[in-house]
Structures are given as C-alpha cells and as structure tokens.
C-alpha cells in the first residue's frame, strides 16, 4: 500500500512517500513488515499490545505508539494523531494516485468551526470578523473552573464569523467562531 504522508509535530513539518507491505497486517501475531520510506528500504517488527496501541521494534530500538484516527474511523486515509513515546505527531495519509503533484492539502482550506473546549463564560474576544490570524494566536478568553483561559487558533486562517459574545455563558462544544 502506497501513501503520501505529511507529518507535523510542533512547528516541524515534513512530507514523505511510504510503501508498506499491508498483506501481513491481517495477523494479530507478531509480524515483520517490509517498507520503503522515501525510497529507502527497511523492515520492522510490529505487534498490537492494546486496541490501537502498537509496539514497534526498528533496528533493535523499541517504540510504543498510540494511534487515534480523526474523522471517519473506518476510512484508511485522512488524519491520525500518533503519539510515539509521548511525542505527539499529526499525520495525514493520502493516496498518491488520487493526488496531483504540488497539490496542497484541502484540510486547511475548508472552514473550521472553533468549539468551546469546556463550559464557561466568554470574558473577552480578541479578534474580529474578517481578521487574519496566525496559528496559536489568541481568539477569545473563557473563564472556567475559576480560571481565565485563552482559546487559540489551531491553524492560520481568516475569522469568517464570530458566534460568541462577551459576557455570554457557553456550553461545552458550543460554536465560538468559524475560521476560513
């Protein structure tokens, strides 16, 4: 199985091509899996130790990895949150056959609703409709558990719509604003 892979961890981003011998995966017993990553051939030892938790041994080095699929859990391609020995990566898998060279990921272009991470009260709105925001920029401040907390932009974008109002109480997952 061939993939176009994008990984992100903190500010570090990179892209790879990956070919994995998927036929061995049907076994839940220990499996040695060959792969080709960016043209380099290798093999590793893989086993599932708990649901969606893998133990991998590569060149003798032992890794413990936990996987969470974003979006449709049954769809192979898409976004994964992968923690490798407590380092968290966001990994996007694409089918290289359906991908034109140089094409950007669509994910960032689609408008995204920013939801309240917990119930609370909107203390301050730090942006305005139409404003461009950087990744990590503060959008608004919620007070909850007697503490004030900033909700930040998960990616760069333009604030298309602000639903929240200062002083307003919001439920968990209430829509706060839309990022285009």
């Amino acid at each position: 199985m061939k993939f176009h892979v994008k990984t992100r961890s903190g500010s570090r981003q990179s892209e790879h091509t990956l070919d994995l011998a998927a036929r061995e995966l049907a076994s839940t017993d220990r499996t040695r899996l060959p792969y080709i990553l960016d043209g380099e051939t290798g093999e590793f030892d893989w086993v599932e130790v708990a649901p969606d938790v893998y133990s991998l041994i590569l060149d003798g080095v032992s890794y413990e990895v936990a996987i969470r699929k974003a979006g449709n859990p049954a769809q192979p391609n898409g976004f994964y949150e992968v923690s490798v020995d407590a380092q968290v990566f966001f990994v996007e898998l694409q089918d290289p056959r359906r991908r034109r060279p140089g094409e950007a990921s669509h994910a960032q272009d689609r408008p995204q609703e920013i939801l309240a991470p917990m119930p609370g009260r909107i203390v301050k709105i730090l942006t305005a409709e139409g404003a461009s925001v950087r990744q990590g920029q503060g959008l608004l401040v919620i007070e909850a558990m007697k503490m004030q907390n900033e909700v930040r932009a998960p990616r760069p974008g333009r604030v298309e719509k602000i639903y929240a109002q200062e002083g307003q109480g919001v439920e968990n997952s209430a829509k706060l604003l839309r990022l285009a």
């Binding site: 899996l33 859990p73 923690s83």
Partner: protein, 503 residues
Amino acid sequence: MFKKILVANRGEIALRVMRACREMGIHTVAVYSDADRKALHVRYADEAFHVGSAPSIESYLRIDRILEAAKRSGAEAIHPGYGFLSENAEFAQACEAEGLNFIGPSARSMELMGSKTAARQALIGAGLPVVPGTDHNLESFDEVRRVAREIGYPLMLKAAAGGGGKGLRRVRNEGELESAFRTARSEAQNAFKDPSIYIEKYLERPRHIEVQILGDRHGHLIHLCERECSLQRRHQKVVEESPSPFLDDSLRAQMGETAARIGKLAGYWNAGTVEFLVDQDRKFYFLEMNTRLQVEHPVTEAVLGVDLVKEQIRIAAGEPLRWRQEQVRQRGHALECRIYAEDPENNFFPSPGLIRGLRTPSGPGIRDDSGIFEGWTVPIEYDPLLSKLVVWDVNRPEALARMRRALEEYEVSGIKTNIPFFLRVLEHPDFISGNFDTGFIDRLLENGFALDGASADAERVAALAAAIAAGRRSLHEPVPSAPRKESGWKAAGRRQLMDQKPR
C-alpha cells in the same frame, strides 16, 4: 479508638484518608455530590451518602447535610481533608456540638490562626518574625494608600481569610494600587465571603519554606522539619520537596523551633503547617498557618517515616503523641508533583473529561495518591488535582532522577495533564542546582510552554504506525472507536537516546 469515620471530602484526599482508616480497622463513610456517584472515594468507602448537587456550595460545603450523613451512619468522627470545610471553624464547632469528633485543631486555634491578621498580631506580640506589613484589615482605599506609602513598593495585597492564591495581588507602584485593591477585595468576597484585605511588604525572590507541626491534646507539640514549596505557578504550589536544598542544619533547627513556638502559642493540636518566606539573606518571616493537613504532606511522610493521617486520627482520639522531638530524623530526599488536569501547551487551561487510558508509575520509591481511574470523567466543578505523585530516594539528585522516571511512566490519555511541564521543570539547571524562588516558574513560563520538537526517528515511526493503522482499516478489520491508552512511558529518556543513536 473510633469505629467509624466520615470523610467530608472527595477525590484523592478522601481516598488517602480512607486508606489510613482501613489500615487502622476503622470503617469509612463517604459523602458525594451528583457529579461523584461513580467516584473512587464512594466505591472505596464502606458506606456512602449523597449530600447534594454538583456545585460544592450545594454538597461538600453543606454542613447540615454532612452532619446528617454522619448521624445516619453512626460515625463518631469527621475528617475534613483539605479545602472545603477543613479550615471552617463553624464546621468544627457544629461537629463538636453534635458530639462528633472533628479531626483537626480546636475551633479556637483555627479562628486564631485562620485570620491572617489576627495571627500576625499574636506573633508580633510574642516577638516572632512576620513579613513587614499591616496587622489589621484595611477598609478604605485612603487607608490602604497611606499604609502602602509607609511600607513602600513593591507590596502584596492579601485576603485576611485567604489561601490558595485567591484575593492576592502584587502591586508594583501606587498607580496599580486602586484597581488591585478593588479586584482583590472582590475576589476575597467571592472566595471566602470576607472582603478583608491587608498589606505585606513584597520580598524580592523569596523562598517559600514551611514547617510541619504535630501536637496532641495533652500539650505535647513537635515539629516535623520543613518542606520546600517555592515552586509555584501563580502562587499555587506545584512541586514540593523535603529537605529544602536551601536550608542548613542551623537554619532548619531555628525555623523548626519557631514553628513549634507558634503552634504552642496557638494552643494547637493535630497536624498543622507554619509557612515562612525566607529572603536572600536567609532571614525568615512568618507568612501564615494552615490549620489542616496539606496536599504536600507525603514528602514529610517519606523523609521521616511517619503517617500524618494516622497520627491525626490518633491525636483526635485523645492518644498521646508517640514521637519525641529527638526521634525526628530526616532520611533521604522526597519530591511531590501535583498532577493536574490542565493543558500546559494552552496556558494551563483546565482539561476535565473522560480518562480513556491510565497507567500509573510503580516500582521502588514511588507513591501515587490518586483519585482517578480509567473510565472516570473528571468533573468540571472541582479542583483539577488528579493525583499526588511522590518519590523518595537517598539524596536529591537521585530523587530527581526517580521523579523523571515516574513521570515518564505516567500515562493519562483522553485529557491533558501537566506531566510534560514537570519534565521540563526537572531538567532546568536552576531547579537541579536548587537555585530558585517563588517566581521561578512564572518567569520560566513568560514565553509560554511548548513541547520539544520531536526527533526524526520518532517521526519515521509515526508515519509507519499511521500507515499500519490505515492498512488494517483497508483490510476491513474491526477498529476500536477510541484508543484506550497513550504512551508516555519513555518520553525524555527516549528523546535523549535518539539524539545519541547513530543513524
């Protein structure tokens, strides 16, 4: 000895008290709110009584309902834990009026030491060192401004009934004074139903070092050495240790004796803590007294080999103290990290919610006092403290290494915790050398907190693992709807390895 004790608290501290009771053969009674029906303290207790809805004002702070539960269960004593009603003299009095033993000091001692200004006055009267400032509550802004000019800037505004960093404002100059006074009063009113404010001189880069005391009802009182609590974020302790790397034996003895004198002055019995600020010149000043068990009590337990909760219960039952001052000997070094449900990468935003996976550290020298379990939903209504992680080892460098190992083994998934933040603190040269003060963490966080960049090896593994997950999905294997674990076992140790490993 008591046959049955009601624990008027929740979470990890309720469990910790119940464990002591069970070891002493005492039956336990839990109280719980609507939010806590599934909580561990309810399941661990022999009996459990519902006392109201989720907000603590409607449950854990309802003196009437807690006393009713005690009567229904036939409990003979009440342990208040910390927080909630633990420093409420009215509650202590109500217990005694109902013939219930309040496991804590007398209401009189609580009242005397509970008001910061009354305690300051008493100490000044006895010639004991307090931070320069007012020893009475300030009502008007005019008075505040006048006193502030006398004491000089920078200074601290403090709630007389305060604690836990609430009603606290640092004021750098007169321009900031009026607004700070208003917000501190309003916070104090909200948090403690008492707007009284007093002023203290702001000490430059002080250390917060406190002394544990323990006294019986027969006039015998000792101190149990110090805890170093200078690692604070926004005036809240986050890492505590004992011994303090700042004290020598002479200063330790002096502070211990002073703390014991203060305890005796207050006619104190049961466990209590005398907090001091220590300035750069190694002069120490009384800050306040906590008339209850403290979150950081396990570091003292680890170093001295005592069980403070069992001692509290024995003292409340009228038993004489079983330790003499000369038997108190520190051995090795202990550290505590307060594991909170909060997101260090997002300004320590609280992170309540469902705990999907949990693996706790174990092995030599590790104690985990937790109130959570896999499948528990951390409620939004209460303190975000999940667990107290405590380690002991023969000396401070080895205790630090053991704490790093324990934090790396600690896995909580589904919610965010401050574990990655602690790993960062533990590798900071100033923390390692013991060179820090109460402003250390706030300065460290001035530019926010971001997790280290990951290694190229881990990135390669992440890509492979995602591809495996995708490959299995393409084979139409059953996939779990949500992962049960995340892996935090190897964190820092692994990062080091990758840096060294030849490619």
